[in-house]
Symmetry: D3
Subunit: 172 residues, 6 copies
């Protein structure tokens, strides 16, 4: 191994990022990338099976939805400790939205940053964690609740520009 | 507020755990519960849109699947730092299984413990984190990949005994 | 240094715990202590200078008080990562109470556990963190707010039995 | 919820930062702010009840004061993991000063940074944690010790410029 | 994957722990093991190249040696967050000893616990971290300093009983 | 203590960084330093005593080496939480290389960054943690394995320019 800096991080033969030409994982060196304003939004749906009456107390304003929001925001800051090859970044802003719907909860997380690397994983982690908090909270009345359609919804900024996961539909 | 220990943690009027009779969240006191051997298994499916050839390099044995397994195991140990009202517990064993299928990845996480409280959230957190690692790794070739059917699959031990989320079907 | 286990943890010549006879800090070995049910309660007062009208929106039910409660509960679980010589323990239950009063906020944190070591620092850390969240939240309207009378209020369990910090008075 | 970036973070109707117009907490987007050199200093007083002789071994040079300093410095780096809506920042410098006085300890923490957001919470967290370490260390001889007058003392840099909490007095 | 608990954790065909029969890593289930009093001691030597005069200020009593001790103690508590397959345990006691010698520093860490799993990694992690703090502190005067002979020195308790790494010699 | 920013961080009378003129540790204020591209490489050797056949299953491609790589990468991101006076930085890239040799494992970690402070401790921490994972994995067949020659190997960038620990030799 030479003391040369790690290569530019694009795995030419695999098409997979974060895996080098020998199939080994490494943290991609983003030094050469430009620090730009980047936003990512992730969404998911917590699908409930119990009746709306059973979970009616999970209304806006109670600690339940606040708990999901806080957990999502705090999880965004812990992303690099959870996802091995993620860079540690300084999140500039996080907004987690949790909506109570008749058959579940719609969760969306928007994360903004000015960095050399994207913020998609932070948005996905915030969204997931908020959803897990909901799953746990309604456990006693709805053990069959599940998380569905957890994916990136929107990103902008960076070399690849604006991208929308589901531009013509709406999952929730 | 008296110096009395927190109440038994069952929210009588709401049916929701972790929310007391005033709608305020608290960490349920599990002192009165019995420390028993408990297992929980969570599962999800990472649904890919790209062709199998495109993501063919994510085969067994590469760092990719190992990365997902390690991240899942480590995340199980961080659960109480992510989910606000979860108790910090000593996980006795974690097994994360990641299988490459034609249209995605099946992820399962089993966590075992001897504690006064369940281990469901640890299994869900391990499963989720392993799935997020996969989502990130195949990003470049499949940005539309999503996590589906993330839920508890099995639990045993504790007062409520054995429970199976989907006893007669198989999601993957 | 012998391979003998660390001594019983009482610093005979100093009267100070956590400092050995040479003035060096170490983590006291609690192996010989009994695991008993222990409770500790810490209290403090967040004293505001701004008028009650100015901070009137910090009423019960808003995210503000919930935020302080959640932060306090989560901080209790992080105590051993903040206080160098604290043992890492499994908190059994945490209850953080935040009350809005005319001239500030009364904060109390009760932590319960069955361990070989006390839970005083967990209660103090929970109480402090909840208070810091309040300080930050009202910053814009009250930069002179301060935390006062932060101390242990009650403990029970363990060798030293029940103890009350201020048995005949009430700070809040 | 749109994919638009979170709003500018000023809560117009409440006067409270970190709470949007619906009373929901979010992490304020600081993208539009300028990265400037910022300093904040927080102070508190650990008030002892035991006689000076009883706690005389907590003199300068022993591990006790060093322990408080280290814990304060390390806590400054963990602030964003403790305070839910704090941004994760790269602290440029931390200085924690602990002075032994006849009736207690004066604690001061100065934190410096070049960021888009202030460093007040880091200074407060460092100061608080150092004080908690002292409280714990003298526990055996002074269980009634308390933390008093914990507040911001000075800040400079940022849009609001220099500010002094107690410009004409001295608490310690 | 069945919902059966993870297997007993012994990899029969490899002789390696933590790797199952398919070469996959998992966290060994220690449920069947007995919780016993266990001690482990790790040692290493920080070898300096600069003259003793150059590093003479690293004498006993200064913050330098205290810093190494505190960092070692705190690292012992973070072991399970660093070593992927380590169980999270409650450390009962930690003692880190740092001695200044003419040609370097002898570091020893003893960790005690009552658990179902050993505490060797906690002792190694504490010893390593204390040594890294010393390496950093003397950097300016001795950039060629190195850590040598970092290994387990002693363990007792558990199924395998007492073991001494170097029973007849002394490295330092 | 004045509210002035901490001093420039050079300890004039001691030659030791991170210790001020009174022997007290503080986190050096790096505000005045220039943010430049910096690389550091650390190396060590995990010396085995067991025969190569006994540890033959630790070959390239198994989870064992991947585990060491991942742990090293993740540890680099946790450096500031382990080493008390280290600044928290955003690592730009990490590459951990683990090679299986007849009598042990050669471990090298390269970390790259654009910051005002060096990245040596991140490289050392990554290298150390990867080595500890190997030590643990081969435990059952080689309890006498040790870590040797753990030190900085190369650094470039920053005021002091390029530096090579062992320019004419090769430890592994």
């Amino acid at each position: 191994m030479s003391a040369a800096p790690p290569d530019g991080g694009v795995a030419p033969t695999t098409g997979l990022t974060h895996v080098d030409e020998h199939g080994k994982a490494h943290m991609v060196d983003v030094t050469g990338k430009e620090a730009t304003y980047r936003i990512a939004e992730a969404r998911c749906f917590v699908q409930t099976v119990a009746s709306a009456e059973q979970i009616s107390l999970t209304r806006e304003g109670s600690d339940l939805l606040a708990s999901a929001r806080f957990a999502g925001i705090m999880a965004a800051k812990q992303t690099s400790a959870l996802i091995p090859l993620c860079h540690s970044i300084r999140v500039h802003g996080v907004d987690v939205d949790v909506r109570s719907l008749p058959n579940g909860f719609a969760v969306a997380a928007v994360v903004a940053i000015i960095e050399k690397t994207g913020v998609e994983m932070e948005a996905l982690t915030a969204c997931t964690t908020a959803a897990l908090v909901l799953i746990r909270a309604i456990w006693a009345v709805d053990p069959l609740a599940s998380i569905e359609d957890l994916s990136l919804w929107h990103k902008s900024g960076g070399r690849s520009g604006t991208w929308n996961g589901q531009p013509t539909g709406d999952r929730s």
